[in-house]
């Protein structure tokens, strides 16, 4: 499902349509790692966990594509740059794995790839959305500034 917030560009961001619909299947997480050529979960830039027991539903953590991203401001080596439409783009070659960005994100949407010791940050491609059978996730179109 696509919600058009602004009409003038095609920039996208991943959004949560309704976390109450989440069944906790984690297919979005598997999709995210698969996109990068991996099976499993540690390359995934989003996370689904129960709100304290399955009966209470699930918390779905995705990058909100901040216009003024705290993670970017926290990076000491300019490995993160602003992405058109919000959020950041990571330059792996500059990243020193200091985890400042991970700590700076208030909602915990900077994940960590332990095998590479680098952050995993959503690029808002929307690949995961096509594997969400319950319309928890969606893509929103954004304005460019």
């Amino acid at each position: 499902m696509v919600i058009i917030r602004r009409l003038d560009t095609k920039l996208k961001r991943l959004v949560i349509m309704d976390a109450e619909r989440c069944v906790g299947c984690q297919l979005c997480m598997f999709a995210c790692s698969r996109r990068l050529g991996f099976a499993g979960l540690d390359k995934s830039a989003l996370h689904v966990k129960s709100v304290g027991g399955f009966e209470r539903g699930f918390t779905v953590v995705v990058c909100r594509a901040c216009m003024d991203p705290p993670c970017l401001r926290a990076c000491p080596v300019d490995a993160l740059r602003a992405r058109d439409g919000g959020g950041v783009i990571l330059d792996l070659s500059k990243c020193i794995g200091c985890r400042f960005c991970e700590r700076a994100c208030d909602i915990g949407a900077v994940f960590w790839d332990d095998s590479m010791n680098k952050p995993v940050i959503c690029v808002h491609c929307g690949y995961c959305v096509s594997y969400c059978n319950f319309r928890v996730l969606g893509v929103e179109e954004m304005i460019s500034r």
Partner: protein, 582 residues
Amino acid sequence: MNQNNVLYVDLERKSFYVKNRSDLFNKWLGGVGVALQLYKEEAVKGSDPLGPGNVIVFAVGPLTALYPLASKVVAVFKSPLTGNYGESHAGGRSATAIRSAGYGAIVIKGVSDRPIYLVISEKGVQFKDAATLWGMRSTFTAGRVLREASPGTGVRTIMRIGRAGENLVRYACVVSETYRHFGRMGLGAVFGSKKLKALVIHGKSSMRVPKIKAYRDVYDEIYDLAVKSGSMKKYHELGTAMNILPINALGALPTRNLSEARFEGAENISGENLAAKKLGRRVACSHCPVACIHLATIREPYPDEPYFYKTTFVSYDHELLYSLGSMLGISDINGLLKLMDEVEIGGLDAISTGVALAWATEAYKKGLIKLNDLVVDLDWGKADAYREAVKLIVDQPNEFYKALAMGVDHSSKIYGGRDFALSFGGNEMPGYHTGPAAHIGYLIGSRHSHLDAAGYSIDQKMKGLSPEEMVDKLIEEEQWRQVLSSLVICYFARGIYEPSIVKKALDVLGYEFDEERLKELGRCTYREKQALKASEGFRPSELRIPERIFEVPSFHGLIDKNYMKAALDHYSKIFNKIVATE
């Protein structure tokens, strides 16, 4: 995410090691095939199921964490209920967690000197004190404590037992993620005997898939079949609870200890009615887009405080609605859900519990048991009384409940009522009185479960089979299911994971298994199981058929004794031939 790594844990010495067992995984793929071999290597032959010689093996398979619906873990152990081969499957987050922690299988040996729980990750095993958790009334509370005390939120499984397991009820279960279970055959009691309260397993590793495009294509094919083809519709919408009405209409829904096979309250306890009135949430196992887990809500006022309520979530499906519903004559939904909740709190297998209580009720009505022993006045439909009885099974305050906690086969040997003690090979019957294939299936299935070969399905689809043809069909199905449970696929997805799809799924991962080799693997695993059962004392000639199934018409009418005998004779020949050659 190396599938070939096996984690060996010794509870007595509180030690562990990891060993690469590609020898086993190359030959047996994973899941039940590998678990069986590990069990044979590690268990002491002829040992007491509740003694130090028993081992528990958990195994996942080559498709775990790689494809949708490969969402189950197989547990292999010696069953304290049947005294022979025990096997149970569960989902939740357990399969993904084990594979993502870097293991293909986990072997748990020995007995701890004090209550403990284990935290397992890629780094190995932490042995944690469980003295405070031991004796806690509810599996929910134990789960909550472990959730807050342990790492890995979202990528972990928390398997725990309740007081039923601690008190060695022979059909105690292991609860995982609150609503999934290693339900049948008493794994909970084996945990209890080892003083093992819980396992927390967490991990989030990944693996690079070499043929990534081909892998994505096969993945999408399976995903589309799961969400678009309609083959999973039943599980997706009403869940297995949708079976209640059709099975009842066939005259195949065991009611009041199978004194009847149609339940006048079926409408009330149907999946349709529950969905309309009680369904509060649906949840899924990890990597399953179907979400068959249906949670009902009960909203109850507190009697001592006005405008003060609690809301409880209770997981239901066909087997619970049968065993704790129709089998006990309970049609009041709230009463039924509260009974299910009590079974969950104590950590019991719902099927065995319901069948045990149904037998007890009939035995009481026939004067075989005294009210003094029974403590509560059990009667069909009285959910509150049954709820009290569940607590008594867990606590076992007297000789009667000590016996009932051993199962109906054992209880009926002491108190009588053998003819209506509905156990097959020592395991209490599931919710299908469809005809001869269902019952022969319970008798000859490796774990005496309806899931071994789905005889209920053969009964519904085919009429006029000879006893020999029917047994051959059951065995053929059970053999293919060995492949599914080596991969390890959820049986609900058996319609998707046809041999051609399985071959494709394995192919892109580099496994060379054509369809014939897969089927041969199924046949070999089946033979291995029969041989193992024989070595532990199983004899087909000693199988007992409860007289009751001949007294109540099934979907196939009254079941013919000669037909059943011919079927068992045919199976005996096959079994004996396997045992002679293996």
